[in-house]
Chain length 214, copies 2
């Protein structure tokens, strides 16, 4: 692969990375099959430790199954609210997921450990999970480039999702991805806009030869 | 953010996702400061659960520190070889990292748990780690768009890297990123080219309302 990238291409790539948002507001509609295919192909082109490709995707087209998953998420949202302390009511006002509203719902499951040792002898679960997360980031970027929103919902008990999706023993659900048309994209991360939390300055996360701030 | 993406921009984004490679062969040289800044800014624009931004980056410019990290990686490479069984000699012939050869070495560390409950009550460590992995994927894509190679080295004992980098208790090193100019990019994942493992067909990782293959 000797292809070089032009500055125009580079600018598009930087633009999409900064324009990507975790979306919770969707407008229904549909995702065209070729677009969905490009998004899933991007996921499958992600890096994986030892080339293990531990990601599995379950496209939820059964409306009753989607409703049951929405119930699991709502239960966890309420449980989270209970441990929010002073910020409980503020939290409950936030829209944290768009499971019922999005065009497509895709569950991402980490496959059972296949015994890969290459690059993960010391951190087996972390490296499989990291590979799945890279796949999801790829999906997010291509979705945004297709002018579609995506949201990663992690408000669930993994065991409850595992039961609903009947995934094999050892597999772990890590994301319910909401995907589809949106009215507009948030100007900044929604939790920043809503005053929940600010973005750290880049300097706060960056050190030279030592941990930042130490 | 109402910016739409054009088909030209979308094509650039899909192109970089499929052209990205885990590189282990570097040609030394340097990374221009503005380029490095764009790569790190892309990392910091990643999604994070509850907007916790758990990623920390340590740019290793101290050559002696780089050598010590290279030693930790070499030790783990040999330990991995010992558990490879029949594939030991095949494994030892593979180049699995470019720590001494790359222009820049950047350690990625997951910050100590800051107590964020939002979106991670049930999967606290997994969601922080997933956020860090998304940041790394962003770096990888921008590096490729800058025609620079990047490799994620995970051959290390996290405790050994933690000691060398003097990271705080509770923080966890997850990656040593090799970054810099390369002679050329692999046409396909190196582990595929070397016959170590094949890419799965997309259909093998994709199911509708059920786990693929079940």
């Amino acid at each position: 692969m000797t292809d070089n990238f032009s500055s125009t291409e580079r600018d598009a790539i930087c633009k999409v990375i900064h324009a990507r948002r975790d979306m919770r507001h969707f407008t229904g509609g549909t995702v065209a099959p070729d677009v969905l295919r490009r998004i899933l192909a991007a996921a499958h082109a992600a890096p994986s430790v030892g080339f293990m490709q531990p990601w599995r995707f379950i496209r939820v087209t059964d409306r009753a199954l989607r409703e049951r998953l929405a119930g699991v998420v709502e239960l966890e949202r309420r449980r989270t609210a209970e441990v929010m302390g002073k910020r409980k009511s503020e939290f409950l006002r936030l829209k944290v997921e768009g499971i019922r509203d999005c065009a497509e719902l895709i569950a991402v499951v980490m496959a059972p450990d296949d015994g890969t040792v290459f690059g993960r002898r010391t951190m087996p679960e972390a490296m499989a999970l990291a590979s799945c997360a890279c796949a999801i980031e790829n999906m997010w970027l291509v979705a945004r480039a297709e002018n579609l929103g995506m949201g990663w919902v992690s408000f669930f008990e993994p065991e409850a999702v595992a039961r609903l999706l009947a995934i094999p023993a050892g597999a772990q659900a890590i994301a319910l991805l909401c995907l589809g048309p949106v009215a507009s994209f948030y100007e900044a991360p929604m939790l920043k806009i809503e005053g929940w939390r600010d973005r750290l300055p880049l300097e706060a996360v960056l050190g030279e030869n030592r941990y930042p701030g130490e």
